[in-house]
């Protein structure tokens, strides 16, 4: 939305502006252009010539009003601050339970569960070298495991985010636990955080378990099931995080993510779902990098574009569908292993960018996130960072406090144009599914990652402690926290015993039903996943079955 230079009525503007320009050039002779991560050239000064607000109502409006550039709710953080949702997961379900209850006791209203990497790979704990188990997340392979993890956790009143890629076994286990505790499924709130299989396919092979068509099928079944049985659950979170971490620029990330959202919405519509019913539950998940103003402009532009897409392109009539609800996580990519305490400063800046962007929920990284799974102390500092910004720095007192800044508004317009160009390129390639399938997105990301790396090499981009201001000694690297090997061994042994002792008939029947559903257009695969979880089928068995029936996903890697 580049606006033409404004004819300003201000008397003396031209002369003052010209004077400044010549004074500036005298002081800063031969200056090289400064660019942000998305490649937009940043000027030394912005003025009413760059943004004069004459399209205020069309481009910005008021908070809670279309196109929501200034925020999706009328009161924003002044009414209700963002949800503090720290991702946690380590060790056995019992280890997780100890930590999650401490968080709840400290007043948290939302929790999350990060499964062990073996879970992301779609295998059970008895198929992995035990030394790796639980080092990056919690080992949850059965309904029993989830029951132990959520012991004493008030399901039904607390919001639960599951880092749960297709076929969403963690949610299935949670529903099994709810049934055991006679908790109405309709009261369960939370989000399937890793449902965006396209982003996994592109950027995070860790999650990639099923073939692309298989993942597409399971996601649609999942959304359909959740809309039917779990009215307060967000079945889809469209994730920009993986792509930005893999090297996409902030503008590319927003463009790709919105293109994915368009793809998912169109798939749902094609399936016969009601667009208003589905879009109401779409949420987004982003990395917040340290490129402060650029991130703020990225989110403001993203809100504006999504509102337009949802209303005009996808035809949603309910304003709730136009709202761009997003969770932000401060980017671990910006954190350094060198001088790790510096990361506290980095996370503060990232979190400020997120808050000033008007996010709905946030995870702040612990300063040792670049080195290890955060310890309890470092996790506490991460939460404290949010509290300090909210309560001491008063960042919530004013809604969209940077709105109206010549720079931020101009940058928002420029980011919007960049993002729109990315979306147009993906559209031209036939949509996000196709663009990912043929590797277009991966190629674009690879080029951006390499370009960024080259900027680091040449020193054009600086990272303190990495390519400048290095110090000899890093005295403060905290030791990595590893799960107790004896406890993990017992966990695996109990799991093996469970598999021996459960009703093999029920397991066989449930797996059979799952396989049949995978091959039938009329049945819902996720519904069978939920039933299988209750029958005692393990995570790895369900993923294995669907891999056989729907195909294993070969990662597409553009070297």
């Amino acid at each position: 939305m580049n606006q033409a230079a404004v004819q300003l009525p201000l008397p003396g503007f031209e002369q003052a502006s010209g004077q400044w320009r010549s004074d500036y050039s005298r002081q800063v002779a031969g200056e090289k252009p400064v660019r942000n991560r998305s490649g937009i050239e940043v000027q030394p000064l912005y003025s009413p010539r760059d943004w004069a607000g004459e399209r205020y109502l069309d481009d910005l409006g008021f908070p809670g009003q279309y196109p929501f550039t200034r925020g999706i709710y009328p009161s924003m953080h002044r009414g209700r601050t963002w949800t503090q949702r720290q991702l946690i997961g380590l060790g056995t379900p019992q280890d997780y339970n100890v930590r999650v209850r401490r968080i709840i006791d400290a007043g948290a209203t939302a929790i999350s569960l990060l499964p062990c990497c073996s879970g992301f790979r779609g295998i059970d704990c008895d198929e992995v070298d035990p030394v790796l188990l639980g080092t990056c997340g919690t080992v949850v392979n059965t309904t029993d495991h989830m029951d132990a993890a959520l012991d004493g956790v008030p399901l039904g009143t607390i919001s639960t985010a599951m880092n749960d890629p297709s076929p969403f076994t963690l949610l299935a286990f949670t529903l099994g636990v709810a049934r055991r505790r006679s908790i109405d499924w309709r009261s369960i709130t939370g989000t399937s955080n890793q449902s965006d299989y396209i982003s996994h396919f592109i950027a995070n092979h860790q999650f990639y378990r099923l073939s692309l068509p298989g993942s597409r099928r399971v996601l649609l079944d999942h959304i359909e099931f959740c809309r039917r049985a779990l009215p307060n659950w967000n079945p889809l979170s469209v994730v920009g995080q993986h792509m930005q971490q893999a090297g996409a620029t902030p503008a590319e990330t927003m463009g790709f993510t919105l293109s994915s959202a368009i793809q998912y919405a169109q798939d749902c519509i094609e399936r016969g779902m009601d667009v208003d019913d589905v879009l109401r539950r779409f949420t987004f998940f982003f990395d917040i990098s340290i490129s402060f103003f650029e991130e703020i402009a990225k989110f403001r532009a993203g809100r504006r574009i999504w509102a337009r897409i949802a209303r005009e392109r996808l035809g949603a009539k309910d304003p709730a569908c136009w709202r761009f609800k997003f969770h932000g996580q401060t980017s671990g990519v910006d954190l350094t292993q060198q001088q790790p305490l510096n990361n506290i400063a980095r996370v503060s800046v990232q979190a400020m960018a997120g808050i000033l962007s008007g996010l709905q929920s946030m995870h702040t990284d612990a300063y040792d996130e670049a080195i290890a799974c955060p310890s309890e102390e470092t996790a506490r500092i991460a939460v404290a960072t949010q509290n300090i910004l909210r309560d001491e720095a008063q960042l919530c007192a004013v809604i969209d406090p940077l709105g109206g800044s010549y720079y931020v508004e101009r940058l928002t317009d420029q980011m919007e144009a960049e993002i729109e160009a990315v979306i147009a390129r993906i559209d031209a390639a036939g949509g996000m599914y196709k663009a990912a399938e043929v590797g277009l997105v991966q190629t674009m990301i690879g080029e951006s990652a390499l370009a960024f790396q080259e900027q680091l090499e040449t020193g054009e981009r600086k990272i303190v402690g990495v390519n400048c201001y290095q110090v000899e000694e890093d005295p403060t690297i905290p030791p990595a926290e590893r799960p107790d090997p004896a406890a993990m061994e017992r966990h695996v042994e109990r799991f093996k015993a469970f598999k021996r002792e459960r009703s093999q008939d029920a397991v066989a029947r449930a797996l059979d039903a799952l396989a049949r559903a995978a091959n039938s257009e009329r049945e819902n695969v996720f519904e069978k996943v939920v039933e299988a979880a209750e029958a005692g089928v393990t995570h790895g068995e369900m993923v294995g079955c669907l891999r056989r029936e729907l195909g294993f996903g070969h990662p597409l890697i553009i070297a």
Binding site: H554, P555, A559
Partner: protein
């Protein structure tokens, strides 16, 4: 540098199928030199048994995925397999990222499949110079089938004719201007044409176009089947193997003839290389004078080259006065 392995025991080990010996022998072939030549001579009698199958076609056609599925099909039929995957080298650095493994993931635990990635080293988009020798190593090692996958971007794909008994040209719908992506010349070498990604909407059109192009071929040429596959779902792959087997058994005399041609080409290539090496290292006074005269334009390059070659080959000293340009024109 460690001393080169002695070729005779290495040959014995590789003929026994020892994978480490096979791998080392391939490296030795890529390195070249007299040890490689001796090894090649030692294993040559044990070659000629394997079924050699070449896959070529434009980038994006899904060759690696198809090869992965095809190898699985070969394994199902009980055959051991060697795969040679050729990727281009960077013209600038000479380095390469050999990424065919990315789509050939399902054979990582199967000793019946031996995969070797080869950089084309200056043969832009085509076959590496040493590919013949590499294939011979796998052949001598007792692999029943050898699959050669090449990037179909340059002109030297035609070399695959010499290496592979059965040549499969892979195409996919929607690659630029469809069959235009298949270069002229490639169709002539194809034993089988494959349209991969046959579930794409434009697939029938691509099949029609390929059949139309085939119909322009001369009469009497062997029929070239056009098959459809969806490699990512293993569909059409069993049919492809059946077609390959049919093609291989069709004309045994072809195999013998191709083998003779191949040996001849190897000899020619070897001779050219040897001559090049000798002439580059030659500093005989008479030869230097020949070069000087060529530099002054008194004789042309071809004449100097022929004279040098003959002198080297026959051990005959260079004539004191080579024919002058003017003389030649007059003659």
């Amino acid at each position: 540098m460690a001393p080169s392995p002695s070729p005779i025991p290495l040959a014995q080990r590789l003929r026994a199928g020892d994978p480490r010996a096979v791998a080392r022998a391939i490296s030795l072939m890529e390195e070249g030199g007299s040890a490689a030549a001796a090894l090649h001579a030692a294993i040559l009698p044990a070659t000629g048994r394997a079924l050699t199958i070449g896959f070529t076609g434009p980038p994006g056609a899904g060759k690696s995925t198809l090869v992965d599925a095809f190898v699985a099909e070969l394994r199902k039929s009980g055959r051991t397999v060697g795969v040679v995957a050729v990727d281009p080298s960077s013209p600038l650095s000479g380095g390469a990222v050999l990424g065919d493994r990315i789509r050939m993931g399902r054979h990582t635990d199967d000793p019946g499949v031996f995969i070797r990635s080869i950089a084309s080293r200056g043969h832009l988009g085509g076959l590496s110079r040493s590919i013949h020798h590499v294939v011979d190593v796998l052949d001598a090692a007792g692999r029943d089938a050898i699959v050669i996958e090449t990037v179909g971007a340059g002109q030297s794909e035609v070399e695959i004719v010499d290496v592979a008994a059965v040549r499969i040209v892979v195409n996919a719908p929607g690659l630029g201007d469809d069959v235009q992506a298949i270069k002229a010349g490639i169709l002539e070498i194809a034993s089988i044409l494959v349209v991969n990604k046959a579930d794409l909407p434009l697939a029938p059109r691509t099949v029609r176009q390929l059949k139309a192009m085939l119909s322009l071929r001369r009469e009497g040429e062997a029929d070239v089947p056009v098959l459809e596959t969806i490699a990512s779902e293993d569909r059409g792959v069993a049919e492809l193997l059946a077609a390959v087997d049919a093609c291989a058994t069709l004309r045994p005399e072809d195999a013998a003839a191709r083998r003779r041609t191949r040996i001849r080409r190897l000899v020619a290539e070897g001779a050219a290389g040897e001559m090049r090496r000798r002439i580059l290292a030659w500093d005989d006074a008479a030869f230097l004078e020949t070069l000087a005269r060529a530099a002054r334009g008194e004789i042309d390059i071809d004449t100097a080259a022929r004279a040098a070659m003959e002198a080297q080959a026959g051990g005959v000293p260079l004539p004191v006065a080579v024919p002058q340009k003017a003389d030649r024109r007059a003659g």
